[in-house]
Symmetry: C2
Subunit: 162 residues, 2 copies
């Protein structure tokens, strides 16, 4: 079974050649989404939400997908690919929660996300209080690594090299 | 640009012919995911998470996609499709946050979600505290409708007919 999707826009970030999370000088306005003009009307009322989900196609992969991954920052720990947010997955669909800063015409300015500039956008969904914000969520296996500091850098969008 | 994905499994629900959220008798164990055997190892450590994201292909659509949608329960309000969770979207990728109840072999038992039985699964991702649970999220335009009661039914998984 083949499932075919088409990009609805493009994500712009300061990550051109360097991998995301390598240090870059990022200013507000460096992260924005251009939705193709035919989808512009679909953005109506999007700016009433504090957060949105972005779904995108992770198109710059150069390694094989494997069912087990070893997050580089997690030491010797090996976990299943579906228990990870590794970009190397059977269907490379990326998911990020970002804040909406501004919607103007077909452009959405957002807070940072760790994708390469030019990443094809697949969908935008509102992130809805209670429905999506689960107060009793946990850190899963990440907590076992003790490296919540690294996770915090991702959460806060602090560039780092490991 | 064509982006091609393949199902990694199937979502099972009690919603066979009736639309999701029509009343059904649902018991614990009625919602489960079968991941195809070749992806079974990718589930390792998934059960360390309280919540997971499911991404799936919304394959049973019978209406045209439009840039503006009028959620039936929201009265006269018309919003952009990307400011809605309508299944009728340019790329019909569904996203649900569910609780993991049990992982056994290639089967994951979860709390309820509103998709038809047999829906093709595209990806599973861990829902990670802080990274995904945004305390300052809001209800966006939904709040304006005053119909937070309806939203609550979705959140609590209470079947309803409108």
């Amino acid at each position: 079974m083949h499932i075919v999707f088409h990009p609805i826009g493009v994500i712009h970030t300061p990550y051109h050649d360097k991998a995301p999370y390598q240090p870059v000088e990022a200013d507000e306005g460096d992260f924005f989404i251009e939705v193709f003009p035919e989808y512009r009307e679909g953005l109506q009322d999007l700016d009433t939400f504090t957060y949105i989900y972005l779904l995108y196609f992770i198109d710059r992969l150069n390694r094989e997908v494997s069912m087990k991954v070893e997050p580089v920052w997690a030491g010797e720990i090996e976990v299943g690919v579906f228990a990870s947010r590794s970009p190397l997955r059977p269907n490379p669909i990326g998911l990020s929660v970002v804040k909406v800063l501004k919607v103007e015409g077909n452009t959405i300015t957002t807070t940072g996300l760790d994708v390469f500039d030019g990443t094809p956008l697949l969908d935008i969904k509102p992130y809805i209080k209670d429905l999506d914000s689960k107060k009793d969520a946990n850190y899963g296996w990440v907590e076992k690594t003790g490296d919540l500091r690294h996770l915090a850098m991702h959460i806060l969008g602090i560039p780092h090299e490991y």
